[in-house]
Symmetry: C2
Amino acid sequence: MLSKDPNYHNTFSIDNVIFGFDEGDLKILLIERAEEAFIGQMALPGNLVLEDEDLDHGAARILFELTGLQNAHLEQLYTFGDVNRHPLGRVITVAYYSLIRIKSDDLKPRISFAKRASWVSVSKIPKLAFDHNRILEIALERLRGQLRYRPVGFELLPEKFTLSQLQGLYESILQIAIDTRNFRKKIIGFDFLVELGEKQKEVSHRAAKLYRFDKKRYQSLVKLGFNFEL
Amino acid sequence: MLSKDPNYHNTFSIDNVIFGFDEGDLKILLIERAEEAFIGQMALPGNLVLEDEDLDHGAARILFELTGLQNAHLEQLYTFGDVNRHPLGRVITVAYYSLIRIKSDDLKPRISFAKRASWVSVSKIPKLAFDHNRILEIALERLRGQLRYRPVGFELLPEKFTLSQLQGLYESILQIAIDTRNFRKKIIGFDFLVELGEKQKEVSHRAAKLYRFDKKRYQSLVKLGFNFEL
DNA sequence: AAAAAAAATCGTCTAAATTATACAAACCCA
DNA sequence: TGGGTTTGTATAATTTAGACGATTTTTTTT
């Protein structure tokens, strides 16, 4: 075995782009920075990677420490390494992203480190620290791409949802109009939604049926050659 | 302005996955390592990133230094940062990938650093240094994905090509069989290929028409809402 | 020189997917 | 009770994608 070379240091960070969907509107999770640089400014929840942790692990740890969120399915997005992106030195950051269900009872995520974490509508993002606006842009592109070709929308909705809610999510995120009848025909035709036999309550119009996404069913369809699209 | 913090070091590397297509066969560019670790073993052309260069720039520089290749369109692929991926320390590597035209007259790329660079068929890849086999796997996935949804195949073919060559490329890389008549109908229907009025020469059967890919035409079609697929 | 072989090329037919039309059912509210 | 809104079903018209038949051009074989 070779001996370690002391010149091999590391200064990598991870920044998480966490998407949620609430009130018909796409949101991301931001914190207020409590340390230099960009102190007091809004930023993606991120921090340095520890020397003895893998990147995926670091992403989960950092997200938990800064927001209290656990069990998010984090996926690597892109790595940003421009020389001057960090005012304190050369820091390469690996961006991760995730889609989560905003539950009404924890709409305000738990906080730590005296930083506040909050959901901000993507249409109202302020100027962020570092190159975080650009990171968010790339994440949005990725989300829109995935939405068309993979059933990721369900990760943003509650377990039980109506077809209208699903359609609204697509229309809102992709900024398009979709024909309701054809949308429902297509989605139901995919045959991976389970009708729950329940209906909405407390809505001021005809109550819609509730469905849930059957992930196992979807995966077995994929094995048979099924290809999700829009 | 904030002063630099001396604790912010960096040890990042870049590894390039360079695809070429020749003799009906997908190939990648490998070097033989002349330094520790994994000395003498085959590896992707990669090296450490300099402190004062951006990642994209580093990818181009490293590729040039190790293989003599210039002007390749390099795109970021994925970042690999497992704690033990490098035996000399914690080194995070950002993988880039590129598709290039193998020209018959420089089939053997120029070399430097006493390392040999050579094209290796992806079906005959040996055990590589570090986690480079895994990096190649991810790159192959990406290439196959792109091939279906973007006109990237043309970057691997000569400027002038026949429809059969194009079809052969798809069949070889995606490992599928395609109906010739439907394939040519579809591709020609896209309306971004230019018939050159020339024909193949020195082939032992009916000579096929030569085409070239009209990139500008393609881009203007995209602006009009066109969506390439297979 | 004719026959066979290998590609290249053109065209048709059908099934599936998309888009558009019509209307009925459920529920709220005034 | 009746108008308004949204959910939901059925089906017709149109476009598109895929399966398949047949012909032309050129080289190789006999």
